[in-house]
């Protein structure tokens, strides 16, 4: 596959899916398949797949809040507000249910507002444990998943067998592995896999049937791998935050020649960086999913007794990817991210990793401030690069 063909595949398959989830929903329904909305965070999508239904990620949308303003005050997380807006304006009408975790302070009231606003769309509630690694946490999560399974069976009108869940786990693990491979390959070919294309490939996994997404992505990854290595002269950054999929925002990265070489973003790598574990002897598949959730971490949404884990993870990402700095895309009114930020900044500053914070909201129209900040950040990285080169040459390295 040539570079042109790579771009064409991304445009036709991934960008199309990432930008038109409503059309995919229509296609599922036309094919007689039920679809279930997957709300943030860490919903057990495998169970929806195992029920023979199509999971569709719900991460809000860009636009204005109208009807949702009758439910949420203005000082509220965009994902909660925009997802409710989507429910109110009919975007979610074709869904047979939504799967709704309640792990943060925004999603707790979201669940209550959703069931009030759209009682006609069944809401399958999930309350995951924060103390998830101890046996009592795994047991509780397994119980929650058993209830979710029953409620999904009622929606699907069919039983979800253990074998189907095992199969789903395998399908999803394969998808996760291929997405991780894509993230690595994208980092070494930033002018082909621009920030926007990278985002589309990853975002589309929330809407496309997983086997198809994985199959096309595998072909794409093989093709990227076969390309000659790039001599990228722009900046390389790790992006951290809840969402970084706005085309307007990503174009600011692109315009400033900032390649995204790794991410710590909730709807990107955080959702696929670790697999569901291998089964222990005769282990029930729901328990595998519970242990998989227990294995998640380095995330503002998840309590971790190891309080420096996320900072270590972020520094590790910078090191492994060869990034020069970190850009925090701070979702407005997101307490968990805002409360992690000072510590993360301090940890990065302490080891000399440049970092910048830009504010983001799905209602944002004007990215002028982000543009100014990223221009300055990009120039700073370039200056550092030049200084490092000159220091290296003066010491004969």
């Amino acid at each position: 596959m040539s570079e042109k063909e790579i771009k064409g595949t991304i445009e036709e398959v991934f960008s199309y899916s990432a930008r038109h989830p409503a059309r995919l929903l229509e296609e599922y329904r036309a094919a007689g398949q039920k679809a279930v909305g997957i709300l943030p965070y860490y919903a057990p999508e495998e169970l929806v797949y195992a029920a023979g239904m199509a999971p569709l990620g719900l991460w809000g949308m860009e636009g204005s809040v109208r009807g949702a303003g009758r439910y949420f005050p203005a000082f509220y997380c965009a994902i909660a507000r925009m997802n409710l807006e989507m429910a109110l304006v009919g975007v979610l009408d074709g869904l047979s249910a939504v799967l709704a975790p309640s792990i943060c302070d925004a999603m707790r009231p979201f669940t209550q507002n959703f069931k009030s606003a759209r009682p006609d769309i069944p809401m399958i509630f999930l309350a995951q444990p924060q103390n998830r690694t101890e046996e009592f946490g795994v047991v509780y999560m397994t119980d929650e998943l058993a209830r979710v399974r029953e409620e999904l069976e009622a929606v699907a009108g069919t039983r979800i067998t253990d074998d189907a869940i095992r199969d789903a786990i395998a399908v999803y693990n394969e998808s996760r592995a291929e997405r991780r491979r894509f993230v690595r390959l994208a980092a070494s070919h930033p002018s082909v896999i621009t920030p926007e294309r990278r985002s589309d490939v990853l975002k589309s996994a929330w809407f496309m049937p997983k086997p198809r997404h994985t199959a096309v992505l595998k072909t794409l990854n093989d093709a990227i791998e076969a390309l000659a290595p790039e001599n990228w002269t722009g900046g390389k950054v790790v992006v951290s935050g809840i969402l970084a999929d706005s085309a307007s925002l990503l174009s600011v990265f692109q315009d400033n020649r900032l390649a995204i070489v790794a991410d710590d973003v909730a709807n990107e790598s955080r959702s696929f960086r670790s697999d569901m574990p291998l089964p222990e002897k005769d282990e029930a598949p729901l328990r595998i999913l519970a242990r998989g959730f227990a294995g998640q971490g380095a995330d503002s949404l998840l309590h971790d007794p190891d309080l420096s884990r996320r900072a270590r993870h972020l520094k590790g990402l910078v090191e492994e990817s060869g990034a020069q700095g970190v850009v925090f895309v701070m979702m407005q009114f997101c307490d968990p991210e805002e409360l992690d930020y000072p510590h993360l900044k301090q940890a990065l500053d302490a080891v000399g990793i440049p970092n910048a914070q830009i504010g983001y909201d799905q209602q944002m129209r004007d990215f002028g401030q982000a543009r100014t900040q990223l221009e300055a950040f990009s120039e700073m990285l370039a200056d550092r690069g030049r200084r490092d080169c000159s220091a290296a040459s003066s010491t004969g390295r």
Binding site: R70, Y71, F72, P73, F75, Y76, C77, A80, S102, I103, C104, D105, A106, R108, P109, F110, T111, Q112, N113, K115, S116, A117, F125, A127, Q128, P129, Q130, N131, E134, F136, G137, V139, Y140, D143, E144, R147, S300, H303, P305, L307, S308, M330, Q332, F333, D335, P336, E338, L339, D340, Y341, P342, H343, K345, Q346
Partner: protein, 440 residues
Amino acid sequence: MGFSGDSDSNAKAQADAGAMVGANTSAIDGANDDVTTKPAKVVLREIVDAVYEQAWDAKKRGEPVGWSSSKFPAEIAEALGLAVVYPENQAAAVAAKHGGRRLCEYAEALGYSNDICAYARISLAVSDGAPAEERPVPPPDFLLCCNNICNCMTKWYENIARRHDIPLIMIDVPYNNTVDIPASRVAYVSAQFEAAIKKLETLFGRVWDPARFAEVCANANRTASAWLRACGYCAMKPSPLSGFDLFNHMADVVTARCKPETSRALEQLADEYEQAVKEGVSTWRRDETWRIMFEGIPCWPELQALLRPLKEHGANTVAVVYAPAFGFQYGDMDGMIRAYCRAPNSVCIEAGTEWRAALCRENSVDGILVHYNRSCKPWSGYMLEMERRWRKELGIPVVGFDGDQADPRNFAEEQYRTRVEGLVELMRANSVTRENGAPL
């Protein structure tokens, strides 16, 4: 209707509120100020002061001092004899004494966004060493965090634990989407209680004594019973108290609910309300033309501003959700766990709506004033829907205003005043409609 003849002042209201959460007892006035029979409010204030004094004493003796979230099971630390202070209570005290902005800005200079809960910002500033003379607390040696109120608490305490490199005991109470708490959730929380006890025993060489725990639980139940009895007097017409008094006394229920002196002081408070009813007097020293529910945490820095238009319009606060929220009683460990699963922000909208609706019905409320509290997203996040349900179920007007529990920059007195006036107009119109027998 209503009471008259007593003098009152906005300054005194602020002083009372400030004192409950932080100040000394010098602001007390009135005929009951007798050293042998102190009024309950004085005793209650001294109990809160003693909690903090005991923590300082423990620190001086080299014993560990914990910082605890307000709805962490206080029974555990009390049974183990560990000194504990309460950052939420401290933040309220600081805010009521007008230190909120100073400490919020201190936290913002550390990099914390001003979107974050102001209690958290104040506490994080204190944790970093910022002076808080309004209610000084010893630095923490351990942390007791329960997220039944919010998940912001989890992140807030993680930051303190990291800053001080101290143990964080975290009890996770998942949110409830149904009125009943599922058995699996009770088992999960129960296992965490056990783990927390074991960890504290190991950390501080304490031994768990079931008999002492039973005694502490009995005290907590007695406190809850007395608290509910005192709150129940809001149902009297006219009420012998203002709901703002309950905001003040809640400090005792938060910081000292397991102590027998708290039970006795709240019983005394209830007795005083009983006596006030007989004598026809009230701590609300204005007309009681209207009876309202104040929904949410008050704006501690702005108590005078909150009360001013209410007094002008004779609107007494006779319902606050803290009464049922903190007055929980239980018969066994299972019941205790279920009680801690029912914090204001951890119950579903049906339970939350009914708590308040029941209060409004029992206390003959004419209208509801809702505080859209910028600090508290989980609380404010479903209030608009609750407003609609209350209007429909209760047939009374509901009006909201924007504010903040501790950051004065998020409150505009003019908006508040206009909203109170609007509520009064609506209550008046509703009253006329009812008198005319028209359907609600």
